[in-house]
Amino acid sequence: MLTKVEKQLVRELQEGLPLVSRPFLAIAEKLNISEEEVLVRVKEFIERGIIRRFGAAVRHQDIGYVANAMVVWPVPEEKARETGQVMASFPEVTHCYQRPRVRGWPYTLFTVLHGQKEEQCREIAARLSMATGITGYRVLFSTAELKKSSMKYFLEEK
């Protein structure tokens, strides 16, 4: 679990890194700790995996990757890991998850593909199928984005 000061740091960082010459100093002043301590804690968050990536998240639609397809695959439990790893190795696959088998839904492996066109997504899915031998998949295109936001953590404990 995270300590009180760690949660405070999460709350500051999720507002976005300040666009000033010394952004970590700006955060440090808000938290009443030193710039050095902020830098050390951020690096520690990265090591612990709490920060998955320290960089920028970009809206892909704005840079030409318009088609977003979720491809779902009926993969037997015992083949899930191997198949997931093969699919994950494709650069066009941005997300790859195994999910439980539930009633009325035979698909257990989920990949998200981003392409410039729908056709391109279908073609990538066909190549994934060839590479893994998994057939009977479905390509679900998004027809509308209803919400896309960054999660805000630890808000109610302010």
């Binding site: 999460v10 960082l13 999720q14 976005g16 890194l17 666009l19 000033v20 010459s21 010394r22 970590f24 100093l25 710039e35 830098l39 951020v42 690096k43 995996g49 709490i50 920060i51 998955r52 990536r53 320290f54 960089g55 920028a56 998240a57 970009v58 809206r59 892909h60 704005d62 840079i63 977003n68 979720m70 899930a80 890991r81 997931g84 699919m87 994950a88 941005t94 997300h95 790859c96 998850y97 195994q98 999910r99 439980p100 539930v102 009325g104 839904w105 989920f110 479905r138 679900l140 295109f141 998004s142 027809t143 209803l146 919400k147 896309k148 936001s149 960054s150 999660m151 805000k152 953590y153």
Partner: protein
Amino acid sequence: MLDEMDRRLLNVVQTSLPVVAEPYRELAGALDTTEEDIIARLQRLRQAGIIRQLGAIFDSRQMGYKGTLCALKVSPEQIGEVAVLVNSFPGVTHNYLRDHEYNMWFTVLAESQDKLDEIVQEIKGRTGIEDCLLLPAVNVFKIKVNFDLGEE
């Protein structure tokens, strides 16, 4: 529109921002421009919504949060009101309509499994929709969010 320097900058910052006292100065050195230029560009790209988040991208699981993907079968005339309800939860971060009979697909995050279950129950209760797939990730093989912007 994006110019050549914007593209180069986005390509670099998507992968990583340096965790140092003066990160923008360091980027400026690598991209052969000034710190002021980097800050101004990042400001503009953020305001334009091209950069959604700058700095820390958190892993919710590592912070103890629980999450799931949900799929609902929503009748066409109900989509608007269901979307408003679903989107009203801060823990719902993504929500898409997809071309399938399960047509509304969203992700929910909450601080505990109990809170997550409460949100799902509330959505089912208030919409009267019983047909809901709960699909939490049991294995994560890849989460990649970098896009190559090329150098045109």
